[in-house]
């Protein structure tokens, strides 16, 4: 299993150098991937922009959306953005897609959320056409826990992007992804990506950010905050649990802009 790190593109109060510095440090560290989150109606840097900047600031690290809310973009724009990121990163880009959970993001984008599943399917069908072209280095992941989402993943994508939670939740979702993969007659195994949050150097500030970021989910926000990894030991247990559950690539996202957490994670893995 590879361990990657998140770019704090959705953590508020960034300065103009914050993301570039973070990306350079990540590139110099032991991380396989640098990943971004996607929210429209929140203080954040748009994920394609963030990854394009990161691509210019880094040499070797993989770049990924984990995940991007596909239906906020038209299929043509999304395909163009994906192809562009593959090009400017020299083939280092992995595209994780989902439908997201926030209606206000859809409202801000002027997209009807009722059509989001169908739109994502259409986008994935367009992306599937890139296979066999120069973009074939790009892996496509699909997130979501419903049968429809897993079905979409198994039909069009290369793997599954889990939404976070303890290792046992990942293990259960990974089994479902494998079941869906086989049900669609796919050979081999789906790529399995997982994610978690770290808040070691300042747990309270990190958890306050998570409660704010997930406030739209109601009591679920407290569960996400409670699940943040607040010690090196918790990080190591989490990594071991995910590895045992068959995760291929685990992304740990920061919850503050403090690079101390990046250094702590680099030490922990």
């Amino acid at each position: 299993m590879q361990v990657g790190i998140g770019l704090p593109n959705t953590v508020p109060a960034r300065g103009p150098r914050t993301l570039l510095d973070w990306a350079r440090r990540a590139d110099a560290g032991p991380f396989g991937t640098l990943a971004v989150l996607d929210r429209l109606d929140y203080d954040s840097v748009e994920p394609v922009t963030a990854l394009a900047a990161a691509a210019g600031a880094t040499e070797r690290i993989g770049l990924a959306t984990m995940i991007a809310i596909g239906p906020l973009r038209s299929p043509g724009v999304l395909v163009k953005q994906a192809r562009s990121l593959v090009e400017v990163s020299g083939g280092r880009f992995t595209l994780g897609l989902g439908v997201g959970a926030r209606h206000d993001d859809y409202a801000a984008a002027g997209v009807d959320p009722a059509t989001r599943g169908a739109v994502l399917s259409t986008q994935l069908a367009h992306l599937a056409r890139l296979r066999g072209t120069e973009q074939s280095t790009m892996d496509i992941l699909v997130g979501g826990s419903s049968g429809a989402a897993l079905s979409r993943m198994a039909r069009y994508a290369d793997g599954y992007a889990h939404g976070g939670g303890p290792p046992r939740a990942f293990a259960s979702a990974a089994t479902k992804a494998r079941v869906a993969w086989q049900d669609h007659g796919r050979t081999g195994q789906p790529l399995l990506w997982g994610q978690g949050y770290i808040a070691v150097s300042d747990p309270e500030r990190g958890q306050a950010y998570l409660r704010d970021y997930y406030a739209f989910t109601g009591p679920f926000a407290d569960k996400v905050a409670a699940g943040a990894l607040t010690s090196v030991r918790a990080i190591r247990d989490f990594i071991r649990g995910y590895a045992e559950a068959g995760c291929d690539n685990l992304i740990l996202f920061p919850t503050t802009l403090d690079t101390a957490d990046l250094d702590i994670l680099a030490e922990a893995i």
Partner: protein, 653 residues
């Protein structure tokens, strides 16, 4: 901290005990009088008892001293009693359990207020709603899904002292009735009677007074009750309410036990889950700094556990609603099916717990030899075992055959060039006998799914046809409406004729997964207004032609349900499977969904098993099923319980 608890059932009282021990001030409000409890005995499981011991040794001792304990399950069916041993059950009178908990709560200084009707817990630092499955607190403050689960049931007591957990089945002119019965003290047993809703109505029980219901059930189970009476405790016919609630806390208010979640009585876990909730909540309060963090912690710990039990309970409730379809089973298989109903007990577990029963079962299943291999090694016709491998290349076929599978199922082989999935499809001539296994070949016409590579239109594709011009998902080619039906039918028949001389043992005709014939079967994809708008007609005519040309085992790969709005239902699929049988099909390969790409499956291990069970028992046709079965124990259990005859086995990574 001041804690206010609503409800003096097991969850509420046990919380009161544990929170008093932790030094909190506790008030419990209960709308009924102290002794006005309903119900008879409640079942516990061994693992709960350890947790109770750690949480409060004193009540643990009193509770376990009062327990009825036993290790046997009796299944009374068709005049025979099948006895299974090696299990571990404990039960206690609900009234006595509550008396112990009440006394301990008072001893510890909790303020218990009975006959105190509140709609939610009174103001306090922490407010616990343990007010049962019909929780008014939940209705006021939480979003829950509540729906009836399983059959009609009624909860009686009896003076008959059983020495086993007893399931008794009785046929009547109205349909099948079943009793779930177990002892809970030296003098008394619980006796729950259950039946399907239409049976209950036909028997007139919807209009029966309490004494009439008792008299009816006493007459029905007279032999099993051995002259003992059934006793009522305001016993009414009930629907079991399945309660699912996505969140169990809000601010300082938290739901416990049945108020938060229920699990069907047939797995006997309600009281256990309620008391474990109380333990988890007390532990969370002990190790966290704030009530908010504690309630989040409690929920994170308990929800996965509860979900597992609710899944098992749903399987069990589903089984008990289908028992009428199993009455053709021999008693020993009927028993194994019942014992493995919830998915928590497998053939392998039973072989450990009750080797004698499994020896008897395996012997019966194998046809009578005293010592027999496990069920998956019993032949099915000329197929030497129950394991099936689906393969797409001859190399893979040879490897699986050498690897011990009974049947290697190859394909698909397209019957026309137009019906190929991709330009790379292998023809029938690619397939020949595989040493070590029987060879099956699936013949197909991909219909709307033809001319693709990796699920997208192939660059070197061709115009395609289907029942109606409905594209298979976004960017897919729109098929033309099939006009040469006779030609396609003849192509299927010609392939069957050719297969008959090609060393092939089993032929599978593809009516699944959105292929041409499946497309005719579904209202989502068959919009024809000609005679072939009769959705069964063309697939059955192809079956007739293939059957006439093929002398050996004929399997139909069938989409039992579309799992999509406006698509075919399970009942449609079962009705069609009956027609397949009548037209000479030997086997149904159970599939679901894929009629169009946007269907709604519920993926998990064995997600097709219940469909297979229903097709096999309700349509009376043997079945083959997959659904990500990765252990031999799963296959043994499915085959032993009569849920399928053959299983697609997956060698998981």
């Amino acid at each position: 901290m001041d804690v206010s608890i609503l409800g003096a059932g097991p969850a509420g009282l046990y919380s009161a005990i544990l929170l008093r021990k932790a030094g909190h001030g506790v008030t419990v409000h209960e709308r009924n009088a102290p002794d006005a409890t309903f119900g008879w005995g409640v079942v516990f499981s061994e693992e709960t008892l350890g947790a109770l011991k750690d949480a409060d040794p004193k009540t643990h001792l009193e509770i376990t001293d009062s327990f009825a304990r036993w290790s046997t399950i009796d299944i009374r069916y068709r005049g025979e009693v099948v006895r299974s041993t090696g299990h571990s059950f404990t039960a206690i009178a609900r009234r006595h359990l509550l008396a112990i908990l009440r006394a301990r709560a008072v001893e510890l200084g909790a303020d218990l207020r009975f006959d105190s009707e509140l709609t939610e817990p009174a103001a306090a630092d922490l407010r616990i709603a343990a007010d049962g499955a019909n929780s008014r607190t939940r209705q006021r403050h939480f979003t829950a899904r509540v729906r009836p689960q399983g059959c009609k049931y009624i909860w009686f007591g009896t003076d008959l002292v059983l020495d086993a957990f007893t399931f008794a089945f009785r046929e009547t002119e109205f349909g099948l009735f079943q009793a779930h019965a177990y002892p809970f003290d030296e003098n008394t047993s619980t006796w729950i009677v259950e039946c399907a809703e239409p049976v209950w109505r036909r028997a007139g029980l919807d209009n029966a007074a309490e004494d009439e219901s008792i008299a009816f059930c006493e007459r029905l189970f007279a032999d099993d009750l051995a002259g003992n009476r059934l006793r009522s405790n305001r016993s009414l016919w009930l629907d079991f309410p399945l309660v699912r609630c996505s969140s169990w806390h809000r601010d300082n208010l938290v739901l416990l036990g049945d108020a938060a979640h229920t699990a069907h009585f047939s797995i006997g876990s309600g009281t256990k889950l309620a008391m474990e909730d109380a333990i988890a909540l007390a532990a969370s309060l002990d190790r966290t700094n704030t009530i908010g963090a504690a309630l989040t912690d409690y929920e994170l710990e308990r929800q996965p556990v509860v979900e597992r039990f609710q899944q098992a309970a749903a399987e069990s409730a589903g089984y008990f609603s289908r028992t009428a379809h199993y009455t053709g089973f021999e008693p020993v298989q009927f028993a194994v099916n019942l014992l493995t109903r919830s998915g928590r007990v497998t053939h392998g577990n039973l072989a450990q717990r009750d080797p004698r029963l499994i020896r008897r079962f395996d012997s019966w299943f194998a046809g009578g030899t005293a010592i027999a291999a496990p069920p998956l090694f019993a032949p099915f016709g000329k197929i030497t075992n129950r394991l099936v491998a689906e393969v797409s290349t001859p190399g893979e076929a040879a490897a699986r055959a050498a690897g011990g599978y009974g049947l290697v199922l190859a394909g698909p082989v397209a019957v026309t060039a137009q019906g190929r999935v991709s330009p790379d499809d292998l023809p029938l001539s690619a397939w020949g006998p595989v040493p070590g296994a029987r060879l099956g070949v699936r013949i197909s016409h991909a219909g709307a799914r033809a001319a693709t590579r990796d699920n997208i239109p192939a660059a070197d594709g061709w115009p395609i046809v289907a029942a109606s011009p409905v594209p298979y998902g976004p960017l897919a080619q729109t098929p033309g409406e099939l006009t040469d039906l006779d030609e396609v039918r003849q192509a299927f028949a010609d392939h069957a004729t050719a297969a008959a001389t090609a060393g092939i043992d089993l032929l599978e005709l593809d009516m699944a997964d959105g292929t041409l014939l499946a497309g005719f079967l579904s209202p989502l994809t068959n919009r024809r207004t000609d005679e072939w708008g009769d959705r069964h007609k063309f697939p059955l005519s192809v079956l007739d032609a293939v059957r006439a040309a093929w002398p050996r085992v004929l399997s139909i790969r069938l989409t039992v349900t579309d799992w999509a709005p406006g698509g075919t239902t399970v009942a449609d699929g079962i009705a069609f499977a009956k027609e397949l049988r009548a037209h000479g099909a030997d086997l149904a390969h159970v599939r679901a969904g894929h009629t169009l790409p946007d269907f709604r499956p519920e993926y998990r291990r064995g997600f097709l098993t219940t469909l297979s069970d229903r097709v096999r028992t309700e349509a009376g046709i043997p079945t083959l099923v997959g659904g990500y079965l990765t252990t031999l124990d799963e296959v043994n259990t499915i085959v032993a319980a009569g849920r399928a005859d053959l299983c697609v086995f997956t060698e998981a990574p």
